[in-house]
């Protein structure tokens, strides 16, 4: 008997008990639907995060610090080893070192990392954010090579600012596109939110307010400052710059925290902004005391393939290097665990469906004992009968799998709309939370068929072992 004959027999048997077949298939469909929607959430998250990394060229970026800091030791609270490493004699990360790093083959750009908290004032509104200084060369990199409005800095000394739309929202401004006039909700109007076109923002002055140590205050009354609860000896300094660009609204995973720079200024211009002695979190680790060293240097390499060799060369100079590419492998492992956990939840539904298949098949064999006996009497072999039942189980798996994929897809569509509706109220731009890659589609189908065949194993063996003499005994 050929395979197509068995296929025809198996499908005819399923067709004969339509309701039962449909119900069993529904079980598989729900199981696969659950599996696909769960796992696609994990893959969606992974895609969003790695895409953000890619969009920001984070894989070609690394951070150089004066000495290697063992983050694992630090996390474990192993203070001794950190103190030990701080006491080691290390080369200074100064102008000379910066030049040497910049000359390494494969390095495109090397510049000191300068970022500090500022208060910004635009019109009557103000907010707090982080300012970052960037050299002219960063204009070739994402996201600065693709601004929503305006251009990157014309020079390293320009009095210009590029602003992130998140900051505009914090300044209670909603950008209107040229085409349509955006309607404000009553809630927004009450909060004082305004709509402005990009033209109304571009070229307008923005005030950067920073805290500086007020030496005069300290000199006047040094003792008073030591008492607790009184004002710190700082005063505010203001610098006015011009907005020349607005960044694109990235994904929700891009610059979502308040610590990410909300405004960017040119590398030399930043020197005109007065500020407290330390320029960034890295400065806290800078214990050499010398003023002409950098706390941290950002390095951009030409391509991902050169990241490893550049990193090794800088480390040989005695500096510490931190790169995202390093962390990627760990991140991937984390996502595999995450996906597996989600998949396991979905798989439970499929196991329940498998029990349904076993039940259906065993019932069917009990009803068809005589028919199986007849097939044996006219020459059906055990393997042929086994195959017919495997085809029945496998078909339930295949059809359930296909419809389950459809169900999973619809569920993720709906869940995505609902989730976006909720997060949109918190000002987060649209995110695709779910992603169904081709391997998930094929994997889910294969898994569905595999589970169904496993479920059909016992019934098929039982069918093959039907004793024809007993089955055909006339009642």
């Amino acid at each position: 008997m050929r395979l197509d004959d068995k296929l025809q027999l198996g499908l005819a048997n399923l067709w004969r008990t339509k309701l039962r077949t449909v119900l069993t298939t529904l079980g598989v469909m729900i199981g696969i639907g659950a599996l696909v929607s769960m796992v696609s959430f994990g893959t969606g998250m992974q895609k969003n995060i790695t895409q953000t990394f890619k969009e920001n060229d984070l894989f070609t970026s690394m951070q150089v610090t004066p000495r290697k800091i063992d983050f694992e030791q630090a996390m474990a609270g192993n203070v001794e080893s950190i103190v030990e490493s701080l006491q080691e004699d290390t080369p200074p990360l100064n102008e000379g070192a910066l030049k040497t790093i910049g000359d390494i083959r494969g390095v495109e750009l090397a510049f000191p990392e300068i970022r500090f908290p500022v208060k910004i004032k635009f019109g009557e509104y103000e907010t707090q954010t982080t300012l970052r200084a960037l050299p002219l060369g960063m204009g070739h990199y994402k996201p600065y090579n693709n601004l929503d409005y305006g251009q990157f800095f014309p020079s390293d000394t320009a009095s210009s600012v590029i602003i992130h739309p998140r900051i505009l929202r914090e300044l209670k401004i909603i950008l209107t596109s040229d085409k349509e006039e955006q309607k404000l909700s009553i809630e927004d109007s009450l909060r004082g939110v305004r709509t402005l076109s990009a033209d109304a923002i571009m070229g307008k002055p923005i005030e950067i307010i920073t805290s500086v140590v007020d030496f005069n205050a300290i000199m006047k009354n040094p003792m008073r400052q030591l008492r607790a609860g009184t004002n710190t000896p700082t005063r505010e300094a203001s610098t006015t710059l011009t907005i020349i660009g607005i960044q694109k609204e990235g994904s929700a995973f891009d610059g979502g925290t308040r610590f990410d720079p909300g405004i960017v200024v040119p590398m030399q211009t930043v020197n005109r902004i007065p500020r407290l002695g330390f320029s960034s979190i890295w400065s806290l680790l800078n214990t050499s005391g010398s003023t002409d060293t950098y706390a941290s240097v950002t390095v951009r390499v030409k391509s991902i393939t050169e990241t490893d060799s550049v990193q090794a060369k800088i480390e040989r100079m005695g500096f510490g290097v931190f790169s995202i590419a390093d962390q990627l492998e760990e991140l991937k492992t984390g996502f595999i665990i995450f996906d597996t956990a989600l998949g396991a939840v979905g798989a439970i539904a499929l196991i329940v469906a498998a029990l349904g298949i076993i039940n259906t098949m065993v019932m069917s064999i009990l009803e068809r004992t005589r028919e199986i006996g007849v097939m044996k009497a006219i020459g059906g072999s055990e393997n042929e009968i086994k195959t017919i039942f495997f085809i029945e189980a496998g078909s339930i798996g295949l059809i359930g799998g296909i419809f389950g994929l459809g169900l999973g897809w619809v569920v993720t569509l709906i869940a995505n709309v609902v989730a976006n509706y909720i997060v949109a109220r918190q000002g987060v731009p649209h995110v695709d939370f779910f992603y169904i890659p081709i391997w998930l589609i094929l994997g889910a189908l294969a898994f569905s068929i595999l589970v169904s065949l496993l479920a059909g194993l016992y019934p098929a063996i039982r069918a093959a072992r039907v004793d024809p003499v007993k089955a055909l005994r006339h009642d």
Binding site: M1, R2, D4, D5, L9, A12, R16, R370, E371, G373, V374, M375, K376, A377, I378, G379, G380, S381, E382, N383, E384, P468, V469, L472, H474
Partner: protein
């Protein structure tokens, strides 16, 4: 002349709960090609058991069955399936047609197992059914057929793969006397014209005597009498 079928000291013991049922206790006989042999005897004499052993549906406890010099009692399960498929055709008292399939489909199913090519099955099955007088009944399901028609479909199915031996287990047991006579005539015709060897188990000794070459009488699992009615010419 070599017998087509030969059994030697065949024993079959069932265990029914704690009881041991000795269904066959040393059956030895042989049948020539083209013979029509009937086995008669009371219920429980072991007639059907003997037929099931020869048909390869059941295995003997001891003894031998030779068919074409092949030893049935030593066969593996797959070889037994091939034996049922190609060498013998079986018909039963209760027809054992598949109720969800039409007369034609019941016959083509056997052909599918027999490896007949897909496009040849329908014409071949149709031809057999037509020859057995079922031309108008080809697309009827077993539930729509009379007992005699159903048994003729079963015979058509048994002949589907051109077996050498037709095994008939009480083929007229569920039929009235007129239809019974028709079925017996049909088997007789197949035996004489198609030279199919027939081994029939029956209650109806009278009608068996009209068509058989030999009649064996079985009692308590043993052949107690062999009557020669006619001979192969």
């Amino acid at each position: 002349m070599n017998p087509i079928l030969k059994t030697i000291d065949l024993h079959k013991i069932y265990s029914k709960g704690n009881m041991e049922v000795r269904a066959l206790q040393g059956v030895t006989f042989d049948i020539q090609r083209g013979e029509f042999v009937s086995i008669v005897g009371r219920s429980g004499s072991g007639k059907s058991t003997l037929l099931n052993l020869i048909g390869g549906l059941d295995t003997a406890t001891s003894g031998n069955i030779h068919i074409h010099d092949r030893e049935l009692t030593q066969m593996k399960r797959l070889d037994l399936a091939l034996h049922r498929r190609k060498t013998v055709g079986m018909i039963f008292q209760s027809f054992n047609l598949i109720p969800s399939r039409t007369a034609l489909e019941n016959v083509t199913l056997a052909m599918a197992f027999g490896g007949v090519r897909r496009k040849e099955r329908k014409p071949m099955a149709g031809e057999i059914l037509e020859r057995l007088g079922l031309k108008d009944r080809i697309d009827h399901k077993p539930g729509e057929l009379s007992g005699g028609e159903a048994q003729r479909v079963a015979i058509a199915r048994a002949l589907a793969n051109k077996p050498q031996i037709l095994l008939a287990d009480e083929p007229t047991g569920n039929l009235d006397s007129k239809t019974s006579a028709e079925i017996i005539d049909l088997l007789h015709m197949l035996n004489r014209k198609q030279t199919v060897t027939v081994l029939m188990v029956t209650h109806d000794e009278v009608s068996a005597a009209t068509v058989s070459h030999r009649i064996f009488r079985l009692l308590d699992g043993k052949i107690i009498d062999e009557k020669i009615v006619g001979s192969l010419s």
